[in-house]
Symmetry: C2
Subunit: 614 residues, 2 copies
């Protein structure tokens, strides 16, 4: 698609492209991570773009029913191509990504199969995975209920062990216990991993996963006792309406005992609940993995939106005509730049922090396997917080890009309304962003409380160990250019994050009890958590641009983007920095001045070429 657009726009953008002052191919590699990653992405993008079955231009015109049929057709065709071309797992995943239409296969591959892999015994995996791999069964992930999302421990569906039949009775005791939202459930799935309260010998053992067949493999009709439906239209003209998010109710549905996922715990033939010796902490590894991929997706969605808005801003001309000459490109307006360029910088920031999270996942997994849980809490805080901050920023940024295209951004043909509508649920799924940030805040408060006891914080919280210095430090910036020094940026962000956390801890300390204090100060705690996470993003960006980066001019451009990102965040949250005395009003004004200079310096034009890949 990128190629078709490029061809159609050739005349209008040629001047911009020619102005690139760096090695564009090398920049692509810097973004994608390797030459191999660029090439395989390019190949898969072309494969999708050149295949008429995968056409996208009519997507927002289709009725809901036709859109759903179109999704089924594309999913089947993608599967066929993957098999025919013997694509690798990496290639197949990229191909599905470029098809870019949410559908039941996302849940089958992304949730159902991993749930069995992660929570099923070897025996269970041997039985169920081959069926799933060959699509002899289609699975979904039935966790969320009408009445319970964030609070998973409050789910109401029951799975009661019946020793007489050596099986579980799955039941929906209330209206609010109806499973609600699972993708692929409404129409497509034959099976689900269902989360329910395990009850045996009269005792409630909390939430466990069960493989439950929902529909007949003969005629796809719901099995007895199973009520199924689609939950209706969603935000956008197309967006997630290609997905059959569903509702599911059970009326005493029986499944054999061995369909409980038994890797971490099991129920014996006699009905005894037994924990296995597999450490429960292993589940955290999966969570880090899923959230790492959400952060990576944020940078992709954001770069697509920014690409459209940059191209539009280069082509659109408005005002500023002298004596009937050409008008000014809107890209040249400082107001357009000050809204658009920080979003471009954010796309790179999220990209690089995503790469780093990928490393963290490997690190955590290795440590877990060695039963070293020392960094687990910090890793959890960091991935949960990055998920929250990057998805919220990306959703807002896509909508801002849409507005930056003026009236034209409101047309579906701009691509932006759908990009927003399909992206924005990322703020809610896999952990509501506010709930996640409060988890981060809780770990921050715990870390602060341990500082006096001399316990050294680890990983992304290590800076908090410099508490003596950071509570007193004074920013040494004297000129606008001083703000280009990463050491000054780093220290200002560290001091801001630490002082906000310490302030919160002190305020909580004054409350009658800790829980009450945490509750009363929770809006401040959200801001404190955001400050901590933004520090991580800035730090990882700085670390990236201090590495060797090959290609003429690439490193300089990335350094500029890094500075834009940091100074933009500083200006946006100026109140934090001033209120905590980390910088003076004068230094804040210098940062803003430097930001304006960076807009003029950075070689923006090229980025519209670059970001077109994703």
């Amino acid at each position: 698609m990128a190629m078709d657009h490029a061809a159609a726009e050739g005349d209008h953008l040629a001047a911009e492209r020619a102005a690139a002052r760096f090695d564009v191919e090398a920049m692509k590699v810097a973004w994608a991570g390797s030459r191999h990653a660029v090439d395989v992405a390019d190949r898969m993008a072309r494969l999708v773009a050149s295949d008429p079955v995968f056409r996208k231009d009519n997507r927002t015109m289709l009725s809901r029913k036709d859109l759903f049929k179109d999704t089924l057709r594309k999913a089947a065709h993608a599967w066929k191509r993957i098999v025919e071309l013997r694509l690798t797992e990496e290639e197949a995943s990229l191909l599905r990504q470029y098809v870019d239409q949410p559908g039941y296969v996302d849940l089958h591959w992304g949730m159902f199969v991993p749930a069995i892999k992660g929570q099923g015994t070897e025996e269970q995996q041997k039985k169920w995975l081959p069926l799933a791999y060959k699509f002899q069964i289609i699975g979904c992930y039935a966790q969320t209920e009408l009445g319970h999302g964030s609070n998973v421990q409050g789910l109401e569906t029951t799975a009661t062990f019946d020793p007489k039949t050596d099986g579980f009775v799955i039941h929906s005791p209330t209206l609010t216990s109806s499973k609600w939202w699972p993708g692929g459930l409404g129409k497509a799935s034959t099976h689900a991993v269902v989360y329910a309260r395990l009850i045996t010998e009269g005792k409630d053992y909390g939430i466990h996963g069960f493989i439950v067949q929902l529909r007949s493999l003969e005629d796809h009709s719901p099995l007895p006792g199973v009520t199924l439906g689609d939950i209706g239209g969603k935000f956008g003209s197309g967006a997630y309406n290609s997905m059959d998010n569903g509702v599911l109710r059970f009326d005493h549905v029986r499944i054999p005992r061995d369909q409980m996922l038994m890797r971490l715990s099991q129920v014996t033939r006699e009905g005894k609940y037994v924990n296995s010796d597999v450490p429960k902490q292993l589940l955290y590894g999966t969570m880090v993995y899923v959230r790492q991929s959400i952060v990576a997706d944020a940078s992709k969605a954001l770069s697509r939106a920014v690409c459209i808005a940059v191209r539009y801003s280069a082509i659109r001309k408005q005002f500023g005509s002298q004596d009937g000459g050409p008008e000014t490109q809107v890209l040249n307006y400082r107001t357009q730049q000050s809204r658009l360029f920080p979003l471009l910088a954010s796309a790179y920031a999220f990209r690089f922090v995503g790469d780093w999270l990928n490393w963290l996942y490997t690190d955590v997994t290795q440590k877990l396997e060695a039963k070293d849980y020392s960094t687990l809490q910090e890793a959890h805080a960091c991935t949960a917080g990055l998920k929250a901050v990057t998805t919220s920023a990306t959703a807002d940024a896509i909508e801002e890009c849409r507005k930056l295209c003026g009236g034209h951004g409101y047309l579906n043909s701009s691509g932006l309304p759908e990009l927003f509508a399909v992206y924005v649920p990322a703020c809610t799924y896999e952990g509501d962003n506010v709930v996640l940030l409060l988890q981060v805040a809780r770990i921050l408060m715990k870390t602060v409380s341990q500082l006096t006891s001399g316990k050294q914080p680890v990983g992304t919280m290590a800076y908090m160990g410099k508490v003596q210095h950071l509570m007193q430090s004074k920013c040494a910036v004297k000129t606008a250019e001083d703000w280009l020094n990463p050491a000054f940026i780093q220290e200002a962000f560290e001091a801001r994050a630490l002082r906000m956390a310490v302030n919160c801890a002190q305020n909580i300390g004054q409350a009658a009890n800790q829980e009450e204090g945490f509750y009363e100060r929770s809006p401040d705690l959200l801001e404190s958590a955001v400050a901590h996470i933004q520090l991580i993003i800035v730090t990882k960006f700085i670390e990236k641009v201090q590495q060797d980066i090959p290609g003429h001019g690439v490193k300089e451009q990335l350094q500029n983007l890094c500075n834009v990102y940091a100074l933009y965040i500083l200006h946006k949250h100026l109140g934090d920095f001033l209120a905590t005395g980390c910088i003076t009003p004068k230094q804040g004004a210098l940062a803003n001045e430097q930001l304006g200079k960076l807009y003029a310096q950075v070689c923006w034009s090229l980025f519209l070429l670059l970001v077109s890949l994703f």
Copy 2:
């Protein structure tokens, strides 16, 4: 609709309603402006809700074509009911508002008819208005072109006078000159007011309006030389897809000379361009009127979103269960309150500033009729700025309300996705918000530059006359409760707005020339304009709650909301207040503390009843 919801929700919300600590009926009057306004709105809402033709529940399920047909059916039915019931103009307008589905009639009544009234001679009005009133012709407003929106002076369509035929030749000379966006153009309209460059005797006199017939009154087919189409799908599942926004191209279409709208200027039989003696400033009155109604609409849209989110937050329970007891209403979480309650306060703030703008419109009109143009510039700055600030805040707030409903807000059945998609173009139409704020900034800079010459600023800029005091003043707040004193709030907001404007003026003064300086500092100028407009909103809210407001507890609640709004804005823009030294970090922390206390005090429950009216 509100009534049906109330009945269905009875059990869940009864406790909240019973907790109301003020006179709900009196609050409705305070919101609507008068008992009469409450009653007529209530009657019209019931009329629409009880009529099956106006049903809305299937709206997001319809295909684009069926949705458009549904809009035609509703428009015709509304017209029939208005005639049958002999509704007044006020009633008819409210009825259309509650039908709440954008359609060609909005442009016919809202733009086509007013354009003829405002820009047509008496003779032209006599000829065209009766046809429009009886729907013998359907009109739209064809201004925006594919290549030109904000810069109206850059429109390319030409209207060249041909003395041989005593008429104009309307022509689209380029692709970018295609009319693009006009509502009602794609399918419905027979006529349009077309804006084009008037050319006579070889000279270009700039943009003028012309009445042009587009389609046959016999069979509705496009007239020769006229190319027409619909511009395609727009944001949302329904939203503005009920509207036939269109594209229009002219190939040398001829119209008689008397179809130029000639109230302000005309072309004689000989082709001479002549200005009439009607002052052009009269057009400003219309602009103030249109923007005043946009501000009023902002408060309505926002109150609907807040109503949904408050009700959801009262019913939804999550976490916090002790030993299997009921969970906590999410309305009781400080994080939910700190996001939701400021939006409720904003709805009231926008409502009251809208009422005041209504007064301003009358005032400006009277002054214009007396040829007194002294307040025109200030009135323009104030209405343009209020349009920009209230529509941006409302669009963001609707989306925030959607997120506050968690996953459920993503379903069309929550009403919020469509409310957002149908509202958000208000940020772009009738003046892009960034362009409008720069106009405000330009007037602010002019006012600052005149301060030294002793010229006293008027109206909403009068505070700038206190420059000596405000540049030096120190905020006297010592305790959190001090922030409940409106004098402290008022002065802090005045000092912030003035100091930001003066800073900008000083920075511009250092540039090589004024225009270059204005360009370089435009991102700061936007922030300065926002600060000035937020001051106006806060001031008008304070003035409102200082009046007598009847009804037990009503005034107290509105005072609380006024304080919530002001302190929320102060906290959100803390950087402005601290950077300009208007308040100290300690005072900022006290404001935030007081804000938290207000959340606990305000009697929120009742508002969900109240806002259900709109």
